[in-house]
């Protein structure tokens, strides 16, 4: 296959060269001349004089001398002569056969003036450009100018909440951390639901290889991959419906994000400079107990368990004995650990760009420097970006582009912020015993400069707990990335305006290195353990080569018809190599590299390498036909081939069809002047998704770690998946577009259903009779369905005032239609604390959860008596009073005064699974955003943006964990209200260490998390023209932005913006965050000269 494909490429290249290489006749003919200023008649030195052929191709060229004279040896007397220089308008004159010319150039002042061009928004789906009004599919575009005021470090952050049906949420607040982008929900269980990113027409790799998670997080890694400087971006489009994404085929099933970077334009060089400075602060977090309050809680909690108190010999942390100097000083404090690991985040970004060009060559180049310090100590992100976008017009029929983008990034993270567990440092800081000191007091009670990192105390040991400040300072976890993406594009108009061919090739070299080191003084553990001086070095190198060859045919078939067809051939070759070394116990905390002699033999340490390669090819035929500008149909067929499948299923065809009926074009609506456009759209499309991992259709042999008689055994690791098929997404979309009042009101409405067939499930449990425990299979059907409305209005538009108001709203539901019999049908144990019951219900949306009804706290013994439906006390056979109990006869816990009351639904005096009721659903009914933008005099501009989610229930997991009083973890100040003495009336049950049933999944933790967030506000001021001229500037704009200003919600937790884990039928939205999104204030300066 590979050879075949490569040879195609050769043929194609050859063809292109042949078509463009015209034979040229040589002639000897010298022409002389002088170039003078048309007004002053002074000679112009240094002007460029070139001979151009009919297609404006440069044949030869010279430069005028000090006196404005030039002499050029022309090849063809029928060609033109073109003269251009700085500060003058270019001039082209036909050669008349004369040998002497005097050419007058007119000074060009008007070049500096703003040129307003009104045109329809061009929409580029990365393959063919179709005017937005003719689109048959659901596409949203945001222009960079709409985003330029937010200080987002990455595109995804900037896009948050601005497009209907595009759900972007932050994973953590740390700099450089990634965001999760979901377009129309999660359509796959195990496959990647991240959208395909297309930059300047070429797919941009963002997928995370299987093993890219040693010591670093995959989501974090994802962020680093999407590291295009936002200021380089011209526009972003999102392809949402399957007919649109079908053009991009495999990997596009989760939607396509199309990013176009800025390019050069004809004009004098413009230097642009942008500065953005941001201050991030941690807003008010959940107040936790201080050391004193904690010292009251823990002994009480422990004794409440069964009466046994804390052992005063072994547990000195709560003795508060001033004579025990060491313990009293080290454990008699009020430490705010969260504060101790927090800092004010500072971000500075500088971006310098140069843009300009002439008719022949245009350039856009930029360098950017981004430096950010996170609100958590030990986190930061630095990035240097460089970009050069060159356009060269060889002739009217031949153009090429050469783009070069380079990014260097460095992410400082805390060592413990590894895969999955999120911000461990912060969660440890929250739960850390607050009576402990940050720095150690010695035996004499003197404060030392050493961090207090005991090997162990009552709370446990690393990795359960540690001194988070020591961890932030001493342990390191740095991920550096180097990525260079050269992209070459050649466009040849085979038949001018009718048949255009483009050829793209893009190389992408992406190298990431993650180095981490865990020194002894961060964990406090003895030197013999492998968590001491643990060094790791991971290196990932990805090289991918992507090519794309398009033939676009646009025949002229009359005014009533229009036709545009494309044939596209695409290839991708992806090579991935990684190595990882993880060793421990280097001789000193200063020896941080695994290459120094250190321990490797323990099971958790490793030396590991991996390499894999995958390829894909695709051919696409797509035709858009329009009749009378009213009836538009687009038909496409894409064939995909992917090396991740076995030979039988390697190739697949994905058709798409979409139509648009412009009702407003019909004669009966012609007289509605206010109506610009009114169209209906319908589309159907398929796209395939390949499994995430390579080589699944092979039976892979692994060898045992142990040896026998000097030999290692080998065994087959997996079932050979030769029948694994493409996961196919079938999307249906109905939409309408309405443009009214001279585009001042725009409404887009879409209803969609995306059905994923042959869902790939990973690691389904299998009966071990087969010899294997688990298998990956194509089983199940999942639906994502919903609707989206986008409304863009300009209610006021006068000379001085312009007010825009945009609004979007959407709803998405995730429903399982079919699933494997191996998949469990329910999840969650209602006889365990902290769990909610979930059922797998075919044809019902995900996200419902069940539990008990919380009714407060038993104030005294009398209240724990069991009562029947009539309210009478239940008595036993001997007349003895029966007390309320839990899960009789299995658990048979008798409720005590101070325990949580759960509603006894069936009035049998026993709280068990029969008392479990429906509590809520985590699917938001509506999500979206809105905001006005007000412009005055083109100088002052106010932008505000709100996001919201309505009507969804989330489990306040933070509340659960900070009020359960179940372990040694520090708790929130809400537990000050806990039940302590008989008769206490409260809603917080008593503290019981590792006992009781006070935090069963109940409606106590379920809250309606509807919220409205004032996401950002920007006020900008542009200097008036007069001032600009004095300053010799083209443009100067200053703005201030505030992010995450305020959240209006009744939700008691920190951040109501919680996601349901996508694609998991048992996923519900649980909020474990203890920190609300950081509040940021940004100052930005943009200038151009």
């Amino acid at each position: 296959m590979r050879q075949k494909f490569t040879s195609y490429l050769y043929y194609l290249t050859l063809l292109t060269v042949c078509l463009t290489g015209n034979a040229i006749l040589a002639q000897n003919n010298v022409i002389r001349g002088t170039i003078i200023d048309a007004e002053t008649k002074d000679p112009i030195a240094g002007a460029t004089v070139i001979e151009q052929d009919a297609e404006n191709r440069t044949i030869t060229g010279v430069i005028s001398d000090f006196d404005g004279n030039f002499a050029i040896k022309i090849k063809n007397p029928n060609n033109n002569l073109s003269v251009s220089t700085m500060g003058y308008s270019s001039k082209t004159i036909p050669l008349t056969g004369a040998s002497e010319y005097t050419i007058e150039l007119i000074p060009s002042v008007s070049d500096l003036e703003e040129v307003l061009i009104t045109a329809e928004k061009p929409v580029d789906n990365g393959l063919i450009g179709i005017a937005e009004r003719n689109l048959t599919t659901s596409v949203v575009t945001v222009k960079a100018s709409d985003l330029e005021n937010t200080q987002a470090a990455s595109i995804d952050e900037a896009l948050q909440g601005r497009m209907p049906g595009v759900d972007i949420t932050a994973n953590t607040g740390d700099p450089g951390a990634g965001m999760q982008i979901r377009i129309r929900g999660t359509s796959s269980i195990n496959g990647s639901s991240d959208p395909l990113v297309v930059v300047d027409g070429m797919p941009y790799e963002t997928s995370i290889p299987e093993d890219f998670n040693f010591g670093s997080a995959d989501e974090q890694g994802y962020a680093a991959l999407l590291n295009i400087a936002p200021s380089d971006i011209e526009s972003i489009s999102v392809l949402k419906d399957a007919a649109a994404t079908a053009m991009w085929g495999a990997r596009a099933a989760s939607g396509v994000l199309i990013i176009n970077t800025k390019r050069g334009s004809v004009g004098a060089p413009k230097i642009g400079y942008t500065f953005i400075g941001t201050l991030s602060k941690l807003p008010k977090t959940i107040p936790m107990l201080n050391g004193d309050q904690y010292s009251m809680l823990i002994p009480e909690e422990y004794m409440n368990r069964n009466g046994t108190p804390l052992n005063t010999l072994n547990v000195k942390e709560f003795q508060y004995d001033p004579q025990q100097v060491y313990y009293y000083m080290n454990y008699g404090n009020n430490t705010d650990w969260v504060d101790a690991i927090s800092q004010t985040g500072l971000t500075g970004e500088h971006n310098l760009s140069l843009q300009g060009g002439g008719k022949k060559a245009r350039y856009f180049t930029s360098v950017g420097y981004y430096d950010s310090k996170g609100v958590t100590k030990g986190t930061g992100y630095q990035r240097i970006t460089g970009r050069l976008n060159l356009d060269y017009v060889v002739s009217d029929r031949i153009r090429f582009k050469a783009d070069l983008a380079y990014t260097h990034s460095s992410t400082d993270r805390n060592y413990v912020n590894g895969t999955g567990s999120g911000d461990r440092l912060r969660s440890v800081a929250y739960t850390k015993m607050p009576n402990m000191s940050i720095y150690e007091y010695n035996n004499f009670g003197e404060l030392t400069p050493n961090y207090f990192s005991p090997a162990q105390n009552i709370q446990g040991l690393y990795p359960g707990t540690y001194n988070p400040v020591a961890m932030a300072e001493y342990a390191s976890n740095i991920q550096t990335g180097e990525r260079i993406v050269p992209h070459f594009n050649l466009q040849v108009d085979l038949v001018p305006k009718r048949l255009v061919s483009t050829f793209d090739i893009q190389f992408d070299f992406n190298s990431t290195k993650a180095k981490a080191f865990l020194p002894q003084n961060a964990t406090g553990r003895p030197f013999t353990e492998t968590v001491v001086n643990r060094a790791s070095d991971s290196d990932v190198d990805i090289a991918s080569i992507t090519s794309k060859t398009n033939l676009i045919y646009t025949p002229d078939i009359g005014d009533k018809h229009s036709l545009q067809s494309i044939l596209s051939l695409q290839t991708n070759d992806f090579i991935y190599e990684s190595h990882n070394a993880l060793t421990s116990n280097t001789a000193s905390s200063f020896l941080t590299d695994p290459s120094v002699p250190s321990r490797t033999q323990n099971a958790e340490l490793q030396l590991y390498t991996n390499s894999s390669q995958s390829r894909s090819v695709a051919a696409l035929v797509n035709t858009q036909y329009s009749l009378l500008d009213r009836y538009i149909i687009n038909v496409g067929l894409r064939g995909d081939g992917n090396s991740k499948f076995g030979p039988d299923n390697r190739y697949a065809l994905f058709p798409s069809v979409s139509t648009r009926w412009r009702v407003s074009g019909e004669p009966f609506m012609q007289n509605l002047d206010w109506l610009d456009d009114f169209s209906f759209r319908a589309s159907y499309g398929q796209s395939g998704r390949a499994p995430r991992y390579d080589y699944r259709y092979f039976n892979i042999y692994g060898n045992f770690n142990a040896e026998y008689l000097g030999y290692n055994g080998v065994y087959p690791q997996n079932i050979q998946l030769s029948n694994l098929k493409w996961e196919t997404l079938v999307g249906k979309n109905l939409g309408l577009n309405l443009r009214m009042f001279d585009q001042r009101v725009t409404l887009d409405v879409d209803v969609y259903q995306n059905t994923t067939h042959d869902l790939i499930f990973q690691n389904l449990d299998l009966t071990t009779v087969s010899g294997y425990n688990q298998i990956d299979q194509n089983v199940g059907v999942i639906d994502n369905q919903g609707w989206e409305i986008g409304l863009y209005t300009t209610p006021i538009k006068t000379d001085k005032w312009k007010v825009d108001f945009n609004f979007n709203i959407s709803r998405n539901q995730n429903i399982i239609r079919e699933i494997s019999e191996y998949f469990p049908s329910e999840s969650g144990n209602v006889d365990r604390n902290g769990e909610f019951k979930r059922f797998l219900q075919i044809d019902n949306p995900f996200g419902s959860f069940y539990g008990y009804r919380f009714k407060g706290v038993y104030p005294d013994l009398e209240s724990t008596q069991a009562r029947d439906a009539n309210g009478d006390i239940i008595t036993g056979p001997n007349g003895q009073i029966v007390y309320m109990r839990f899960n009789y006869p299995n658990t048979d816990y008798v409720f005590q005064p101070g325990d949580a009351i759960y509603e006894d639904i069936n009035k049998d005096g026993n709280i068990d699974s029969r008392d479990v009721v429906y509590l809520g659903n985590s699917n938001p009914k509506f999500t979206g955003g809105f905001g006005p933008s007000i412009t005055f005099n083109n100088q002052f501009k106010l932008l505000a943006f709100f996001t919201y989610r309505l009507d969804y229930d989330i489990v306040n997991g933070t509340d659960m964990l900070t009020t359960n009083m179940y372990g040694w973890d520090n708790q929130s100040t809400a537990v000050l209200d806990r039940w302590r003495n008989p008769g206490d009336q409260t809603n917080i049950p008593r503290a019981i260490y590792q006992g009781g049933y006070n935090w069963l999944g109940s409606d106590r933790y379920v809250e309606d998390a509807s919220f409205l967030r004032f996401r950002s506000a920007t006020f900008s001021y542009s200097l008036p023209k007069s001032a600009l001229e004095n300053l010799r500037l083209d443009d100067l704009r200053v703005y201030v932005t505030a992010d995450n200003i305020m959240t209006f919600t009744n939700y008691r937790g920190q951040d109501p913006e919680v996601n349901m884990r996508g694609g998991d039928p048992f996923g519900i939205a649980i909020d474990y965050s203890r920190t609300p999104p950081t509040r940021r204030f940004t100052l930005g300066i943009q200038t151009r000269f």
């Binding site: 959940i286 010292s295 004794m303 046994t308 000195k316 919201y948 309505l950 000050l976 409205l1012 209006f1048």
Partner: protein
């Protein structure tokens, strides 16, 4: 569009209802009804001004004002004013920080307890109701200066009981003192009453909730960091048993002997480090360690520490005799045979003090239910013998007018135990033989035949101190055996000298008789006396007698001092039968002839097949007439007409007849005499066709002994020819033969 309007409305509503901050503050704010911490509560209540001043002085304001989890027994202002008066302190401000610390820390108990929980014991498995009357306080003595061997030293108490192989000092355990209280729930559950309380606190009123001599006036005052119980008296930290003994001159003799003989001061590295860190002083710290043999260490504030908090439910008790009664005891008993206390073996002190120590809190009303460490009942009369009773920090203290009249000092055992001439016998009695327990049992009467060390050594017995083993060198052969073999030999010999004589049977040895040695559960061998001499089977073999050279009467019998040993026989009993049969006109002859000719018997050695040396047997041997009758009855081979026995039958049946006959007349496992001690079904050497044991019934009373076979046939012993001694056996002559029938 309707939905759209609706959501606009909802959004608007949300904007209006932006009350999340208020709700947040209410949820996370400090509840209005949450009590203040202890210090502030005390301030609020107004009648604790003196206590508050004391807390300030003690440096506990910061702790009690905000942190920890405590029970505080808070003395009110009246309590303080009488306290100050008693102490002669004019003003609360004049109280020094040390005293203030003592008051505050001893009033503080770790963890908060409401009254209903104070009486419950916090075992390792949870609450055990109504078992507790003590709690550990925040107070401990810590490092003290003390004169040790004429030097001023830093001393710390041991915080565990000393025992062989165990740690007497656990670093980090501060030996916190306990506080005792008396709550109805506990008292009733333990069958205690005001009597018990007033026994210790005769001046105080039992109120149902007393803290030592104080009464609790207001219970269960709730504070954020604990519970306060208001009391009407200030309690200073109680001293412990060790401190009581050391500081009370009434018991100085008791303490001096204890300290000189059973206390060591041992340097401790951990304690030294802790002390030096705390005091910034370079002195070494010594742990005051009590002898591991003692029931407990009187300076250990913790109880047994089998469970962390076992001190909540129990404590120690010491009965300390006052100097005069102790001096009298020393003079009359301890030093009866010894020249001075210095030369007394250490075990005597250990025993003496253990006799006065109880590993429990001895409640007066339940005194009879407790035993001292020697497992003896407490021999005190509460109404007359107790001079003083105190509740101390680690136990109860009883000052007595009487010593505990321990078995060890008033029994036949004492004759050996308290006499330096009998160290070998004492050693054997003590070293696990169990003889000490037998002979010192004051409730049973014994006669003890006690050989002095000289007698034993002359006969080859000795104890090698260096090798910790017994040695025996046979005087006849000169062969030496050591260790267990030697010890076993001596054990057996000395057991022959321990005779239970409930009625003083051996007070007159002028006549003659036979009597069983040992105790009832583990019978020894029979010995005989005659004309003021005694002898055992072995003495018969070597043809000597044991002479009495003196005696001493004790409370449970008489000790005879002897010049020789009651030896056991090392001959097989067969030889004894042979000897009996070989006497002229012996009635044993016929039986012996059968035996001698049977395959069971090896005439050269005297061994009878199936018999083991050193095992108890009883031989019931039919006399010659009975044998002839057996022949006539066809039960033995011979002429049935005449009864002439055929001692050498040829037929297998007849051979078997003989062996079965012999075996049925040997009773296994018991030695039976006509003393009425052993009766019932006794197994014989014979086994039936199925391999089952066969039995003979014994009717036994003084002067009567009848054997009944399985067919119910009776045979009576013939007294004049019976009770012949052999190796752990007796040989009797009977007037009928016994026959086993299926």
């Amino acid at each position: 569009m309707k939905i759209f309007n609706k959501s606009i409305f909802v959004i608007a509503m949300l904007l209006v209802l932006s009350c999340s901050d208020e709700e947040f503050d209410e949820y996370y704010g400090r509840p209005e009804d949450l009590e203040e911490p202890i210090y502030q509560i005390l301030e609020e209540r107004g009648n604790f001004t003196s206590l508050l001043a004391t807390i300030d002085k003690a440096g506990y304001k910061n702790i009690l004002g905000k942190s920890g989890y405590w029970t505080m027994f808070a003395p009110n202002d009246e309590a303080f004013s009488s306290f100050l008066q008693n102490e002669g302190i004019s003003n609360i401000e004049n109280i020094d920080s040390t005293l203030a610390g003592k008051i505050v820390r001893y009033a503080l108990v770790y963890n908060a307890f409401r009254t209903e929980r104070l009486s419950d014991y916090q075992s390792d498995t949870g609450w055990e109701e109504d078992l507790a009357f003590r709690r550990r306080t925040a107070y401990y003595d810590g490092f003290q200066e003390e004169m040790v061997d004429g030097q001023q030293r830093i001393v710390v108490s041991s915080n565990r009981n000393n025992a062989e192989g165990a740690d007497y000092y656990i670093p980090g355990d501060n030996n916190n003192k306990y506080l005792s209280y008396f709550i109805d729930e506990f008292m009733q559950a333990q069958n205690l009453s005001a009597y018990d309380y007033n026994f210790f606190f005769p001046e105080a009123n039992y109120s149902g909730f007393n803290l030592l001599s104080a009464a609790v006036q207001t219970e269960n005052i709730v504070a954020e960091n604990g519970i306060i119980h208001e009391v009407n008296k200030v309690s200073l930290p109680l001293i412990n048993l060790d401190q009581k003994l050391a500081n009370d001159e009434h018991y100085s003799l008791f303490y001096t002997i204890l300290k000189e003989n059973l206390v060591n001061y041992v340097y401790d590295e951990d304690a030294t480090t802790a002390y030096q860190n705390y005091s910034r002083n370079s002195k070494d710290v010594y742990v005051k360690v009590y002898d591991p043999a003692l029931a407990f260490s009187p300076n250990n504030e913790n109880f047994l520490k089998e469970a962390d908090n076992d001190g909540q439910s129990d404590a120690y008790t010491i009965f300390a005799p006052k100097n005069d009664v102790l001096q009298q005891f020393i003079d009359e008993v301890l030093l009866k045979n010894y020249s001075s206390l210095d030369v007394l073996p250490k075990y005597i002190f250990e025993d003496f003090y253990n006799a006065h120590m109880v590993q429990n809190a001895v409640w007066p009303s339940l005194l009879a239910g407790y035993n001292n460490e020697l497992n003896e009942e407490l021999r005190f009369d509460l109404s007359t013998d107790i001079a003083e009773a105190k509740v101390l920090s680690n136990g109860f203290f009883y000052g007595t007018n009487k010593i505990q009249e321990s078995n060890l000092f008033f029994s036949v055992y004492t004759s050996a135990y308290l006499d330096p001439e009998f160290t070998l016998a004492t050693r054997l009695f003590n070293d696990g033989s169990g003889y000490r327990e037998i002979t010192s049992n004051i409730n049973n009467r014994y006669t003890l035949f006690l050989p002095s060390d000289d007698v034993l050594r002359n006969l080859g017995f000795d104890y090698n101190i260096n090798r910790s083993e017994w040695v025996y060198t046979s005087p006849e052969t000169g062969n030496t055996v050591v260790g267990t073999i030697a010890r076993t030999r001596l054990t057996r010999i000395l057991y022959n000298g321990i005779i239970p004589t409930p009625n003083g049977e051996l007070n007159d040895l002028s006549g003659s008789g036979i009597i069983r040695s040992g105790d009832l559960d583990l019978p020894g061998e029979y010995i005989k006396w005659e004309n003021n001499t005694v002898y055992a089977a072995g003495n018969e073999v070597i043809e000597n007698r044991v002479n009495i050279i003196g005696y001493e009467d004790q409370r449970n019998g008489r000790t005879y001092y002897i010049d020789n040993l009651l030896e056991f026989s090392e001959e097989p009993p067969g030889l004894d039968i042979q000897r009996l049969a070989e006497e002229p006109e012996s009635p044993f002859t016929n039986f012996y002839n059968y035996l001698n000719n049977s395959s069971l018997y090896d005439a050269a050695s005297g061994n009878i097949q199936g018999l083991e040396i050193g095992t108890s047997y009883t031989f019931a041997i039919p006399n010659n007439e009975a044998i002839i009758q057996a022949v006539k009855d066809g039960e033995l081979p011979g002429d049935q007409e005449t009864g002439e026995p055929n001692y050498t039958p040829a037929g297998q049946f007849e051979i078997d007849q003989v062996t079965d006959f012999i075996r049925y007349h040997i009773l296994a496992t018991r030695t039976i005499s006509d003393d009425g001690l052993t009766g019932g079904q006794i197994e014989t050497l014979l086994q039936d066709d199925l391999g089952e044991k066969t039995y003979i019934s014994i009717l036994n009373s003084t002067g009567e002994l009848t054997f009944i076979d399985s067919a119910g046939r009776e045979a009576n012993y013939i007294p004049s020819q019976s009770n012949n001694l052999a190796d752990r056996s007796l040989i009797h002559l009977i007037d009928n033969y016994l026959l086993y029938t299926n």
